[in-house]
């Protein structure tokens, strides 16, 4: 629904043209909340949005938007699709509920409620994104801060295994490098930038220091930086193992000691490579050590909007951040066993509900092969690999555009995303509404004993 207060203040409608300011972008983890939109009957014009954000807003007027419910490739009535979806989930012995991102916490909470009711597995985009980093937070503890603090204080940014120029196009200009801050009035001239990446990425090309390590040697390099920070002698084999010279490692340690407020931005370069959570864990211990010399924090560059929200919602409902199994009536947490890729790979999942995620396109082939063999219900907005593997498609709603909702930003700050238009159909108001309707039918089909 469109909140009246917001509509009065920020949404102006004139002769079929809707103009809205301060729109929250539902694309990447930054959840930029300064987007301006002009929506007319055939086109969308955006201001301040990046290439990816603009592409998402264009979905409002795209010709390929999925607007009709589908069962087994045929268009059906909404109730019929909901019944078919409920049948699939109720009949399953080990249903899997995948709560994607780019949708609201409110919708995820209902999805988790269905999983709990039916005793299924529940997981979210975090599992294939920064799941290992979340495990590292449990292991080592995170020294964190908000993006606002980074913007106003940070004079050293270390991008470790991430490439914000591509993955978060406005990251460096809004929060970490090129903007002026309260304590960094000189802007980029008052900030230093280190990039640790085996590739010469577009971000690395802008860095004061590009540390080009060998692929998969993050743990060893982080350990070496800690040794250099402590002023101890580096192992003579360090360069051979990591591909980085001792001088470079010492220079990086000096930069860490000399800065006033440093930020390590970790990306999937450490979470998806060999070592996984151990890499993220030692990066957090490095941050703790760096606080001996200056103020230092570590933040994960979360890829999707509200992927952090899934961890938050599941934590306050089940007590665990991802990979939860409700089959025994109580939540149990075990990454590697109840997580999406592992459960699919082992072939134990016999039905899936996928909300707002393209698992067909982003999981490894072996996992997608299992999705082809089992019935899949999807909340989806566009044709693509996820629609490809789906038996039932319930048209999705664009959160932050067609309905309101709460998103958690990558620094775990909740942002309330307003809406400025309505969905192109009348059978549901939001993904939360869709799942509530589904839960009602599920409860009718399988009353609790």
């Amino acid at each position: 629904m469109i909140s009246n207060v917001v509509k009065q203040d920020l949404v102006k409608e004139d002769q079929g043209i809707i103009k809205c300011t301060d729109v929250t972008c539902p694309v990447c983890g930054m959840s930029c909340d300064d987007i301006e939109i002009e929506l007319n009957p055939t086109t969308v014009t955006t201001k301040n949005a990046c290439l990816m954000g603009d592409a998402k807003f264009q979905e409002l007027r795209s010709s390929h938007r999925l607007v009709h419910p589908i069962v087994n490739g045929e268009r059906v009535a909404w109730q019929e699709a909901l019944e078919a979806a409920a049948d699939i989930l109720v009949k399953a012995k080990r249903p899997f509920f995948f709560m994607g991102s780019e949708t609201s916490n409110e919708a995820m909470a209902v999805g988790i409620e269905i999983a709990e009711y039916l005793g299924g597995l529940v997981d979210g985009n975090a599992t294939i994104c920064h799941g290992p980093t979340v495990m590292a937070i449990q292991d080592a503890g995170q020294v964190g801060c908000t993006l606002g603090e980074c913007r106003n204080r940070s004079d050293l940014a270390i991008y470790w295994g991430c490439n914000p120029a591509d993955s978060h196009p406005r990251h460096m200009s809004r929060h970490s490098m090129y903007n002026r801050g309260f304590f960094v009035e000189q802007g980029y001239q008052g900030r230093k930038m280190v990039v640790v990446d085996p590739r010469r990425s577009p971000t690395a090309a802008q860095a004061d220091l590009h540390v080009q390590l060998l692929p998969g040697k993050d743990y060893e390099l982080l350990d070496a930086v800690m040794v250099a920070l402590r002023g101890q002698e580096l192992n003579p084999d360090t360069e051979k193992v990591t591909g980085v010279s001792q001088d470079t490692i010492k220079k990086m340690a000096e930069m860490i000691k000399e800065c006033k407020f440093g930020v390590i931005w970790v990306g999937l370069g450490i979470a998806s490579t060999h070592g996984k959570h151990h890499n993220a864990s030692i990066a957090m211990r490095l941050t703790q050590l760096a606080n001996t010399y200056s103020k230092f924090v570590i933040l994960a560059n979360r890829g999707h909007c509200n992927v952090a929200g899934f961890n938050q919602v599941l934590s306050w409902t089940a007590g665990f951040p991802f990979a939860v199994d409700y089959s025994r009536g109580v939540p149990r947490y075990q990454p590697g066993e109840y997580s999406c890729v592992d459960a699919l790979k082992r072939g134990e999942v016999d039905a899936m509900l996928v909300m707002c995620a393209d698992l067909g396109g982003h999981l490894p082939k072996k996992a997608v092969e299992r999705m082809m063999d089992i019935p899949v219900v999807s909340l989806e907005i566009a044709p693509g690999p996820q629609a490809f593997v789906s038996d039932v498609i319930l048209p999705g709603v664009l959160d932050g555009m067609e309905c309101e909702g709460t998103f958690y930003r990558m620094d775990n700050v909740p942002i309330y995303a307003r809406s400025f238009t309505k969905p192109p159909f009348d059978f549901t108001e939001s993904n939360e509404d869709t799942l509530k309707q589904l839960l009602k039918i599920v409860k009718e089909k399988k009353p609790r004993k």
Partner: protein
């Protein structure tokens, strides 16, 4: 055939395609169906137009070869997407996160073309004894639910 390390990751152009819901278009093939290769490896492979990347399971995918200075010797990059995920392995080291980066694969020069997204999905997943069942149950690449399809 050469042993090499595969890294996958996002690019802003690939991101714009997928966020815009254009995964079943030629644009997706253009922005996600290529492989960046260091000039030395590019020469060693015989200056290919196309390369075949194969993982330990024997799954393989053909992508365009691009000679770039952004890669180290012995390491290649394919943007995140359905082409890369044919060869990404599902081992998660008990974390839930598959091996999207630092994956040992084999690479060789081959003939094109690169399969388009629908063709790749069909050849990867709609095959074997269950193909007819998939055709009747799954949505696949139909267009019956879209705006303007009545």
């Amino acid at each position: 055939m050469m042993d090499i390390i595969l890294n996958t990751g996002s690019t802003v152009y690939q991101g714009a395609i997928i966020k815009g819901g254009n995964k079943f278009t030629e644009g997706y093939t253009r922005e996600a169906g290529y492989c960046n290769i260091n000039p030395a490896d590019f020469e060693a492979l015989g200056r290919p137009w196309f390369v075949r990347v194969t993982n330990e399971y024997g799954d393989s995918v053909v992508v365009r070869a691009k000679k770039t200075n952004t890669q180290q010797v012995g390491e290649v990059f394919i943007p995140r997407g359905i082409w890369a995920n044919v060869v990404v392995t599902p081992e998660t080291e008990s974390t839930g996160s598959p091996r999207y980066k630092n994956l040992p694969v084999k690479i060789e020069k081959c003939d094109g073309p690169v399969q388009g997204p629908e063709e790749l999905m069909r050849s990867s997943f709609v095959n074997g004894a269950n193909a007819a069942e998939y055709e009747s149950k799954k949505y696949l690449d139909k267009k019956t639910s879209q705006v303007g399809q009545h």
